[in-house]
Symmetry: C3
Subunit: 171 residues, 3 copies
């Protein structure tokens, strides 16, 4: 075939772009369910046997696993949303995730490891006061279930070692 080696390169680039696009989309879809207050869909981003935590950077650096939030299977994620909904009759805040493009660190078989920086900004309603609520990075292990990319492990490492209120929503 005339396109020979160049065709292979184009295909390999296309495959690499494809993974980058799918991972990027997973990140923005995840942000959207939280920011658009469709929290009931949040557990769907995880495989059943998942790990999710939110942990301060100092704790993370010394190897701790449990931080502000810790869930080691999807049922715990579902429970968390349920209790959040029953505890809060009115959500007085809105959240907005802004993320940098994700950095894919490794592709090992079916698992993609990546790191993504985020800033989470909280707006109070109806006052409209805006604060940077949290910044940090996601450390992720992502697998593909059919056509879906899902988190097998998501650790949100917060730059701050404190979160200034009861952490009610996921990050």
């Amino acid at each position: 075939m005339s396109d020979g080696a160049f065709g292979d390169t184009a295909r390999s680039i296309a495959a690499s772009s494809h993974i980058t696009e799918r991972i990027t989309r997973l990140m923005t879809d995840y942000s959207a369910v939280i920011d658009n207050d469709r929290l009931e869909s949040w557990p769907d981003f995880f495989v059943q046997n998942c790990f999710y935590s939110v942990i301060g950077r100092s704790d993370h650096e010394v190897g701790r696993l449990a931080g502000f939030m810790y869930c080691d299977n999807r049922d715990m994620l579902v429970d968390r949303i349920r209790s959040l909904r029953s505890a809060n009759v009115f959500q007085p805040h809105r959240y907005r995730h802004i993320i940098s493009p994700p950095r894919i660190l490794a592709v090992n078989g079916d698992v993609v490891r990546c790191e993504t920086s985020y800033a989470l900004i909280r707006t109070s309603v109806p006052e409209g006061a805006m604060v940077v609520f949290s910044t940090g990075r996601y450390l992720d292990e992502i697998v593909f279930e059919g056509s879906d990319a899902k988190f097998q492990r998501r650790v949100a490492v917060t730059d701050s070692d404190r979160i200034d209120m009861l952490l009610v929503i996921p990050i």
Copy 2:
């Protein structure tokens, strides 16, 4: 041809990446004309028969169209920049848009619908005080005019229901 179905997949991925790249570039070009104070070029991002508004989330959710700013054709955008320029001899603020990667929601014929999160940070000059001025998401309908991607509809839904000053620049 030997690359058969795989070649088709590579082409389809390349086409999808291409749309994502063009849409992403439209978003960053749009931000740049505002942030670099080249506002006279801002209406060029829209088709003549366009719709542009900036609206608080509560108003948007109950179906209102008019919010902090409302324009239903490109001439209104041109007028807005003209009046902004004549009213302000000196612009005492600088703006910076930071956006997440865009989420393409649908491609219907020639129209691409997408949603993009933004944070807009304002710096006062010469003091240098920085505040998060607005966060939210763009809800867009984009069409292609020749080689250009343009907004047929752009609605900036702000997370806050209030904007704490006269909104003079577009978001």
Copy 3:
């Protein structure tokens, strides 16, 4: 070959996506070494004969080169990190870069020029107070050394004309 002109287009799109991906990755890798406090790796992002500066927008607009920080070869970058490490026994702040997708402005032979918006958020430790420390844009000239993309020139133009403390880390 049956894919003819379309195959060429697919290849050209793949090549363009490939440059975009490499440039994007350079931006996020650069942010990560600063945010993850691996500053010793920071000079590796530059060619030996590089130019790096951090400058306020007003100074930049009137053509000045020297601003808050100015280095015209990689050894100066290495020195800067060394003196920063010797001066600070404990770093009381953490930094987080959030960037918009980069805008590639031109590809001239081996040099890619691009512009990327950033927000840099600083968290104090252990208090956890977060402030927007700087926003602005990178104006870059990037070259490829083998498989690596490196900065030949990086100018961080800050939206503020002041930086409210001794600028110790690079932006």
